[in-house]
């Protein structure tokens, strides 16, 4: 039931009709609703698995770190764990605790990043500015601990490359205290700001059954009441000894995914404090052989986006026989198609953003064909603007909230 002329028009174009560019999403619309959605991935396919076969394990490690810059430690640790298992290495406890520390700091930076991106997608740009400013606290901590803001390279086969000093521990605790205060503020915003709740509630719905059937992982799955977290179910590093809660929500929607992520931030702060309080003494690495004996291992890791899986097979040389990587986003892609079935086009930006996708954020092109004979290609930015405009037209507008948010901060 759409009243054609009253509604915001979908700005199809401005691409030349003869343009044949690969588009990430192909949509068939009926009016403003998505009838069908196809997803085309592979833009960032670089041939990493093949490249790993031709490189030594150490070089392959540098490559796996760069599968995704946001969860670089996730991929690196997942890979390192598999190789250590094949090689039969006993990683010192201190190193495992340091790995957990960096893992949680990465989760914190990633979830704050996501909060900002989600704000941006719905037009709540002040949220982007504040969360990313707060995120700089954890970026500085990571830079101090590992030498780099991103791509930390803390792992080596057999342990970690850098130790943590008492002074650094104190800095981390200070940073965590500040972040916890800020996160409580964001939880307040998420649970009390009517505009935000209206915008996110019942958007991108994925029922518990569908989430199970489609294999949704990470916060996406947990927001549909799937209590799965590799840190709890299949503990790795030092997680078996660290108390924390797995955060779930029964909202089944983008709002639930928001609650899960801010809840996980609070748990991460607890984990970091536990790690620093209970950091065992001892060496930070054992010596690893250059050649890894023949064998295979399947390593799993709970990245900020969900379950990351690495399968490694070794053949007795200094180069892997096979490295197979399944990043979490790949497991959640089908869930997105389901979430957008028969929903408004205007929901697409936040629904896609809510799975926290690990493909490039800026170059997604959307190809659209609608039932009025229109067809063309949209840039993501255009879709985002259409979405914000559509919701403004339907009474959900972040202009005022952006202003009051800013005023509240200055007070």
């Amino acid at each position: 039931m759409h009243n054609g002329d009253e509604h915001v028009q979908i700005p199809i174009g401005p691409q030349h009709p003869a343009l044949k560019e690969p588009t990430s999403f192909t949509l068939t619309l009926q009016g403003e609703k998505i009838l069908q959605m196809g997803v085309r991935l592979g833009y960032n396919h670089r041939g990493i698995e093949k490249a790993c076969e031709g490189r030594t394990y150490v070089r392959a490690l540098y490559l796996t770190e760069r599968i995704c810059g946001i969860c670089s430690h996730s991929h690196a640790t997942c890979f390192v764990q598999a190789v250590e298992e094949i090689a039969g290495l006993e990683v010192p406890k201190r190193a495992l605790y340091i790995r957990v520390l960096i893992s949680e700091l990465e989760r914190i930076h990633s979830h704050l990043l996501w909060l900002g991106v989600a704000g941006h997608e719905v037009g709540f740009d002040t949220l982007l500015m504040y969360t990313w400013r707060d995120r700089e606290i954890v970026m500085d901590l990571l830079a101090a601990l590992t030498g780099n803001r991103v791509n930390y390279s803390i792992n080596t086969f057999g342990g970690v490359r850098r130790d943590i000093t008492d002074a650094q521990k104190a800095e981390v605790l200070k940073g965590i205290d500040a972040l916890e205060e800020r996160t409580k503020y964001y939880i307040g915003v998420a649970t009390e700001e009517v505009t935000l709740i209206k915008r996110l509630r019942n958007v991108g719905v994925l029922s518990h059954e569908d989430a199970l059937r489609l294999g949704a992982v990470g916060p996406t799955g947990r927001a549909s009441s799937i209590p799965r977290d590799v840190r709890k179910d299949d503990p790795y590093a030092a997680y078996g000894e660290i108390p924390f809660e797995v955060i779930t929500s029964d909202c089944n929607d983008v709002y639930g995914r928001t609650l899960v992520r801010v809840g996980e931030l609070m748990e991460s702060y607890k984990i970091v404090r536990f790690v620093l309080k209970n950091l065992p003494d001892g060496p930070i690495a054992v010596k690893a052989p250059r050649k890894v004996q023949a064998g295979e291992a399947l390593s799993r890791y709970e990245a900020p986006r969900g379950e990351d899986v690495h399968y490694v097979r070794a053949n007795g040389t200094d180069k892997p026989e096979r490295v197979k990587v399944r990043a979490p986003t790949l497991a959640n892609v089908q869930a997105v198609s389901k979430m957008l079935e028969d929903r408004y086009l205007a929901d697409m930006p936040i629904v896609v953003a809510a799975i926290d996708p690990c493909f490039s954020c800026t170059d997604r092109l959307i190809s659209i064909a609608d039932d009025r004979g229109g067809s063309g290609v949209l840039f993501w930015q255009q879709l985002r603007e259409y979405s914000i405009h559509w919701y403004q037209h339907h009474g959900i507008d972040f202009t005022e909230l952006n202003k009051t948010f800013r005023r509240g901060e200055d007070a």
Binding site: P14, L19, E21, P22, G42, Y43, N44, H45, R46, G47, I48, K50, A51, G54, Y62, L63, R66, I67, C68, G69, I70, S72, L113, G116, L128, M129, W132, R133, R135, E136, M139, N148, R149, V150, N151, C358, S360, C361, T362, D363, L365, F379, W380, Q381, Q382, R384, E385
Partner: protein, 167 residues
């Protein structure tokens, strides 16, 4: 004519509008580019504005090595940008292919496909390096504007006026 040129040049330098495009990167440089636009680094104080389409952009910030899939798209985006336009390669992968050199499906750095005005290395390039690179680019535009155009010698083809605005 010259005054207008100088004004347009000044406006362009004082407020370059940028388009950020990921050509196959791991996202590390992308998040550092966005971080450069957020309060701690605040690229916007240099008048830099992030735009959504190539038609409004002066500067194309590229991150990532060029993959086969994205190559044509990258060229198309560049062609849609109005003159004068500048390409900045952000991160080691954009400069040379980085860690992905030799991977199938990776062509190499941005300059295998487009003329690059500035290279900002780093893995990823930190926001301070990105700001430094942008400021240097803006400065070189200023200098190019101030310098008299070089007289082409008889035997030389006229150099491509990449940095000077076309009349």
């Amino acid at each position: 004519m010259k005054l207008i040129q100088r004004m347009v040049g000044w406006a362009r330098r004082k407020s370059p509008w940028i388009l950020h495009f990921n050509t196959g990167a791991c996202n590390a440089c992308d998040i550092e580019i966005i971080a450069a636009l957020t309060p701690q680094y605040d690229l916007e104080r240099f008048g830099v504005l992030l735009k959504g389409t190539p038609r409004h952009a002066d500067v194309l910030l590229c991150s990532g090595p060029v993959t086969r899939q994205i190559q044509d798209r990258l060229v198309r985006i560049y062609e849609q940008m109005p003159e004068p336009k500048f390409v900045v390669a952000i991160g080691t992968c954009s400069c040379s292919g980085g860690v992905f050199q030799g991977c199938y499906n990776v062509k190499g750095g941005i300059d295998t496909v487009l003329p690059v005005a500035a290279y900002i290395p780093g893995c990823p390039a930190s926001p301070s390096a990105i700001i430094d690179g942008c400021v240097k680019l803006l400065k070189s535009l200023e200098e190019a504007e101030a310098a008299p155009p070089a007289k082409p010698s008889k035997n030389q083809a006229a150099p491509q006026a990449v940095l000077a605005p076309k009349t």
